[in-house]
């Protein structure tokens, strides 16, 4: 039997000690727990389909320097924070002083705030499922803390542009913590982009602590390049009568993994998770979602669509756990998949664990190809094959793209989707 591969000790050392002491202490503690962390293999249940895409080397353990120039002079329709290789770049960021809302780099926190944060960081996540969040916990060198006081409303979306520049091999560990006070509201857009060509690892963690009655929208757009292995985790804790809405749009890469974990801890909480993934060439994308209905009277609605072309591989694993006290839970999970070529692969798995007896829980998963009858109907009206293919493929995800509540993000997503179509469907 082959020995289980372990995370190289090279990955345990953070490069810079430029955060307040309580966060450094936390990081050190997390690093010690990472020693000899087993790496996932195909026998690891939650990495079964994806372990083969994980290719770590010691030179990727080095922290990527955050001193290069950012490619993002891009205007965004809202407030903007730019992270380069996991470190906030204040010169590239633009947001005003806002009433009841603070947006700060971890590096700028005073000791009290850093102490308070160190007690919460990681608390939204089940690290046994999102193993690589531990690596982020041991390696983050900065992060963004967003605090909304009770009743505070962010009037425009906040964009966080996470850029990774891989001019040489290395890794980056962006981290975001959102503390949404009672009845507060905000829309957070996270865009992951990259430059350079050296193989790099990006290990992200984003957390939302959503208090009573708060209403938070999270949009995540993953558009990194072919040199980036991306392993991200998002954790959400929802208190009474809160609402959380997530829109993830992901484009494939050599390794893409996103764990999204939502815990409905207060009665009447509501969550809506939408996801779109497209992969082509030999790309990969793996979405693992987990919704925990802990309290009674909560609603969850999840809709994910995967489209895999060429020889690419998409994975969806949707877990719903309804705890014993979570009576009157209403959970609806739906995953549809479209295979555009016979060489493509999609694996989908619903996992339901229900311990309460008075619940509604629906789930459905399908895998199919473009419908020949629909295609014939379109071309019989003079529409070319390529356009007909694009119309039908887009129809598969239209509804989800249309629901993204920020127009600029819809446009960015559409532009990238059009590039995907151009590569996938050649003009006949």
């Amino acid at each position: 039997m082959k020995p289980v591969p372990k995370l190289s000790s090279a990955f345990l050392h953070a490069a810079c000690d430029c955060m307040p002491e309580p966060l450094l202490a936390l990081r050190k503690q997390r690093a010690s727990a990472l020693v000899d962390m087993p790496l996932p293999t195909r026998k690891t249940e939650n990495w079964k389909y994806s372990a083969k895409y994980l290719k770590l080397s010691d030179d990727m353990a080095i922290s990527l320097p955050a001193d290069g120039k950012t490619g993002t002079s891009l205007a965004v329709p809202g407030y903007k924070v730019v992270f380069l290789n996991g470190v906030m770049i204040p010169e590239a960021s633009e947001f005003p002083d806002l009433d009841g809302i603070t947006i700060e780099s971890f590096r700028d926190l005073n000791n009290d705030d850093a102490t308070a944060l160190s007690k919460k960081l990681g608390g939204t996540l089940d690290h046994d499922q999102a193993q690589f969040a531990r690596l982020n916990g041991a390696r983050f060198e900065d992060g963004l803390l967003i605090r909304l006081k009770p009743g505070a409303v962010l009037d425009q979306p906040l964009f966080i542009i996470h850029e990774t520049h891989g001019d040489a091999s290395g890794s980056a560990y962006p981290r975001v913590y959102v503390e949404a006070g009672a009845n507060s509201q905000m829309t957070l857009v996270e865009e992951y982009t990259s430059g350079g060509e050296a193989p790099v690892l990006v290990g992200t963690v984003t957390e939302f602590d959503v208090a009573d009655g708060a209403n938070i929208t999270s949009i995540r757009l993953n558009m990194e390049g072919e040199n980036v292995q991306h392993i991200g985790a998002t954790g959400v804790l929802q208190a009474r009568s809160s609402r959380f809405e997530s829109h993830c749009v992901g484009f494939g890469g050599p390794l893409r993994r996103h764990d999204l974990q939502v815990r409905l801890e207060g009665e009447g909480a509501e969550t809506k998770l939408n996801g779109v993934v497209v992969t082509q060439g030999k790309q990969h994308y793996d979405n693992h979602t987990a919704i925990d209905h802990v309290a009674a009277h909560c609603n969850s609605e999840e809709t994910y669509r995967n489209i895999a072309a060429d020889k690419s591989h998409a994975v969806f694993n949707g877990r719903i756990h309804i705890h014993q006290d979570a009576q009157k839970s209403n959970a609806d999970m739906n995953n549809k998949n479209l295979l555009l070529n016979s060489g493509a692969e999609i694996d989908t798995k619903p996992e339901l664990e229900i311990y309460a007896d008075d619940v509604k829980c629906a789930h459905g998963a399908t895998i199919g190809q473009l419908d020949e009858t629909s295609l014939f109907y379109l071309v019989s009206r003079g529409i070319g094959r390529r356009d007909a293919n694009v119309l039908l493929t887009m129809a598969f995800i239209n509804e989800l793209v249309a629901q993204i509540p920020v127009e600029a993000v819809r446009e960015t997503a559409q532009t990238r989707l059009n590039e995907f179509f151009d590569k996938t469907f050649e003009e006949a």
């Binding site: 629909s374 014939f376 019989s380 009206r381 094959r385 356009d387 119309l391 129809a395 509804e399």
Partner: protein, 254 residues
């Protein structure tokens, strides 16, 4: 305009069309009648280019050009239009987007400029009214949740927008109540012109009260066994298909 010579076609190795011969000239309206299973729909599908059907021999030309060499979309651009017996529902593609893409594909083929969204919207609204379809249907998914009658009207709407040379109507009357039949027939009659031909495929003759054909053909067992004028349809109505010594599977079943 359309010339079919000794056309044989099969589906999954079963021969359905066993030697069809038919000549249709511009300006003419032809009706093909026949019992269920006679090959009526197969003929429509083969003309439109459905690859599920294999043409094993014979020849079809449209204005002298070999139709069978053309892809489905090329046939459409050359002027073939098939109104489907069962129009397809395509959720996620709006009717408007579908229609505009089709019209612009045709315009591009003819070397004309594409219509912009506003121009097209205006045109589509006008034509919707002509087939008594509320313009709100333009914003819905293609045929999504449309009733049978609404789907058929949407087919005629497409024919009016695309202005084909040869419109093939496959059982366009099926599932229509008398009011919808009138609307659809008016739409088809609006299509009649000197440079356009219409081929109607139908089981019953009631459609022919509204759209009066120049010629009627009876298709049975994959062949046209009788041709005549309008009066042939009336005779069939009176005497049934049994009169011609053929069995109507549907009638037999009932």
């Amino acid at each position: 305009m359309l010339s079919i010579k000794n056309l044989h076609a099969s589906v999954e190795d079963k021969e359905i069309l066993k030697g069809i011969n038919l000549e249709i000239k511009a300006g003419e309206v032809h009706a093909i009648m026949g019992p269920n299973g006679s090959g009526k729909s197969t003929l429509s599908q083969v003309l439109a280019g459905n690859e599920a059907f294999e043409v094993t021999s014979g020849e079809v030309t449209l204005n002298g050009e070999n139709l069978l060499d053309l892809e489905t979309e090329e046939r459409a651009r050359e002027g073939i239009f098939l109104a489907f017996q069962y129009p397809v529902e395509i959720p996620g593609v709006s009717n408007l987007q579908f229609l505009r893409t089709a019209v612009n594909a045709m315009r591009q083929h003819r070397g004309e400029e594409e219509m912009n969204a506003a121009e097209f919207m205006k045109l589509a609204r006008e034509v919707s009214k002509q087939v008594d379809l509320d313009p709100s249907f333009l914003k819905r998914g293609v045929n999504e949740g449309f009733s049978g009658g609404e789907k058929k009207r949407n087919e005629i709407l497409q024919a009016l927008l695309l202005q084909p040379k040869l419109a093939i109507l496959d059982e366009t009357d099926s599932g229509l109540d008398i009011d919808a039949l009138k609307v659809v027939s008016d739409g088809v009659n609006a299509l009649r012109s000197e440079d356009r031909a219409i081929l109607m495929v139908t089981h019953y003759q009631r459609l022919l009260n509204h759209i009066v054909p120049d010629y009627v053909h009876v298709l049975a067992g994959g062949r046209i066994i009788k041709s005549g004028g309008r009066e042939l349809a009336l005779e069939l109505e009176e005497k049934g298909y049994g009169w011609l010594g053929i069995k109507d599977e549907e009638d037999a079943g009932n």
